[in-house]
């Protein structure tokens, strides 16, 4: 690849991103602008921003690499991404969230829940949880972006890390939500074009759609030879039911991310950035197509890379990538795509990482600034935006430290990008989802139930992560040092925390709601004003 061409493409991309970030900064006048883009964002921009935030390099590099191992069964996740992450999220959650957010004058996801249940504790604790847990997810996203930048530009990981974080931090801290959403829309459009070309060219290289799939199906004996003991049956078929591979595929990847998306604070807050319910309906059109083109393409191409590598180097994708799933997609792009596209795809991945990261920085900053410091600790300043900017700085430093340290801790190529993402999605689902549904749909829900549900979700998720789920419990080592064994329940060591924590927090929410008094009528009346028509 021509380095000068690559540098020119990257500079052009950064210039446009910078201009859009500056426009966001210039048009930010007050805290509603800074936190919710003034509640006047165009539905097309909102949909692209939602999609580009949703899809990071984790989805393309991490999960694309995972598809090269697990196979096309992972496309169930794309179906869930569209059906749950777009259709159900926008139609059944989005419109009510927007209306209720307006009624309660809420500016963040924890603020919406706190005001709906009349609980300052809930807003404070929710903000604290997001601020503590999101750096792991943001750190994973940074690792995905920076690894690719450092490999492609042949620069040190640490240098790429600093440059990458500094660019995103600048336009998020200064431009707030407007800066984030304007740049997201541009980045989303780039991602769409990049993934569309990747799909078409992959099929072209492999001789067409049917032929490519058939060639992958014909490699089933190689898949069984490599992974058959864990239940693999081939890259175009599902693993053996209830085998270790089946559990990993179904629980961690499909359920962990597919359902977890509904309670993501950096996504739900976007519903409050448009001015009316029908604008969310319009956004569904763009959102559905966008997500299909993102994860659908990454998973398909990831699985098909096995055909390409077997044909060209005689190895399956995992072996071609030195047994590191995160290496597979970059290697495939480098080898199989035309040289000019490598530069363009580099920018596509940069856009994917930056769009997700900018929203994470924004969500972390507002969770710590507005929810924890301002509401929880009563910290007051001349303008609220300054507190949020400082809080954002703290979150950015924390995430950067994780991105610096994690690759050393997890050396050996385990899919840390996918793991970090799944942990955060699962934790948010268990802690927030039942009480978020309750906030939108059940007037009868009580404040005590919301607090109990949140606490149970957090406690069970963390317990499962530290003491049962082998993927985290074994490397963390706490269970081994306290109880002398790697997992307290070896038979359940492959079951993802969300499978246990979400049902428990849901039951807690329902039972406590039935046993306690609903929130005062005036709070519920205010929250539900005009909601049915929204």
């Amino acid at each position: 690849m021509n380095l000068i061409f690559l540098v020119l493409v990257v500079v052009a991309y950064l210039v446009v991103t910078g201009i859009l970030g500056y426009l966001g900064f210039r048009s930010t006048k007050n805290s509603t602008d800074y936190l919710l883009a003034g509640r006047r964002i165009h539905p097309m921009v909102m949909a692209l921003s939602y999609g580009a935030t949703f899809i990071s390099t984790s989805a393309i590099i991490g999960f694309g690499g995972a598809a090269a191992v697990y196979g096309m069964g992972i496309v169930w996740l794309t179906f869930l991404n569209i059906m749950v992450g777009i259709f159900i999220a926008f139609v059944f959650f989005g419109r009510r969230t927007r209306k209720m957010g307006h009624n309660l004058d809420a500016h963040t996801f924890p603020e919406l829940l706190g005001k709906r249940y009349g609980s300052r504790f809930l807003q404070t604790a929710g903000g604290a949880l997001i601020f503590c847990a999101m750096p792991l997810y943001a750190g994973s996203v940074i690792i995905g972006g920076v690894q690719f930048v450092s490999q492609t530009l042949k620069v040190q990981y640490e240098v790429a890390l600093l440059f990458f974080v500094a660019v995103v931090a600048l336009y998020v801290v200064m431009g707030g939500m407007k800066g984030v959403m304007y740049t997201d829309a541009f980045q989303g459009a780039l991602m769409f074009a990049g993934m569309a070309f990747l799909l078409c060219y992959t099929y072209y290289v492999l001789g067409g759609v049917g032929k490519a799939h058939q060639a992958l199906t014909d490699l089933a004996p190689m898949a069984r030879e490599a992974f058959g003991k864990a239940g693999h049956t081939g890259w175009t078929s599902m693993p053996v039911a209830f085998s270790p591979y089946w559990w990993q595929l179904v629980t961690t990847i499909v359920l962990g991310v597919g359902i977890g998306v509904l309670a993501q604070p950096q996504l739900t807050v976007r519903f409050m950035t448009v001015k009316s319910g029908h604008e969310l309906n319009r956004a569904v059109v763009v959102g559905g197509i966008f997500i299909a083109m993102m994860t659908g393409v990454a998973f398909t191409v990831g699985a098909l890379s096995n055909v390409y590598f077997v044909n060209t180097v005689g190895k399956i994708a995992l072996l071609a990538g030195d047994k590191k799933t995160d290496n597979i997609m970059p290697l495939f792009i480098d080898r199989a795509m035309p040289p000019w596209f490598v530069a363009f795809f580099f920018v596509t991945l940069l856009a994917a990482a930056m769009s997700t990261l900018s929203s994470q920085f924004h969500a972390m900053g507002t969770a710590f600034g507005r929810d924890f410091l301002e509401r929880g600790l009563n910290v007051r300043a001349k303008n609220s935006v300054a507190i949020n900017r400082i809080a954002m700085g703290a979150g950015i430093i924390l995430s950067t430290l994780i991105a610096y340290a994690l690759p050393r801790f997890y050396a050996g190529g385990t899919a840390i990008i996918a793991t970090g993402t799944a942990i955060f999605f699962g934790l948010c689902a268990a802690a927030f989802l039942p009480l978020y549904v309750g906030a939108l749909y059940f007037r009868r829900a009580s404040r005590e139930a919301a607090i109990a549900c949140f606490s149970a979700g957090v406690f069970v998720s963390l317990f499962w992560l530290f003491f049962v789920h082998a993927k985290e419990a074994v490397p963390l080592g706490l269970c081994k040092s306290l109880f002398g064994r790697p997992s307290l329940f070896p038979a359940l060591a492959n079951v993802d925390p969300i499978v246990v924590a979400l049902p428990i927090s849901t039951v807690v929410f329902i039972v406590v709601s039935l046993c306690t008094r609903p929130v005062p009528a005036e709070v519920a009346d205010k929250a539900f004003r005009g909601v049915k028509t929204a």
């Binding site: 496309v75 794309t78 175009t236 078929s237 997500i291």
Partner: protein, 61 residues
């Protein structure tokens, strides 16, 4: 079918394309629905903005 090894994977692709089509159809059919009276919301937001002072920095001044 289409070179897939089992019906489950074929079903995953079919549902993926079907759900994307559902999003498009739903959005077009409901392009202007629900009809909402925005005047009350706009009035309230204007009122909140008076309690939400301009920044001392940044801003479009």
């Amino acid at each position: 079918m289409f070179g897939f090894g089992d019906a489950w994977v074929f079903l995953a692709y079919a549902l993926t394309l079907g759900s994307a089509a559902l999003c498009v159809a739903y959005g077009i059919v409901n392009w202007n629905k629900p009809r909402e009276d925005q005047s009350e919301e706009l009035k309230e937001e204007a009122e909140w903005e008076t309690r939400d002072p301009d920044l001392n920095e940044g801003g479009s001044r």
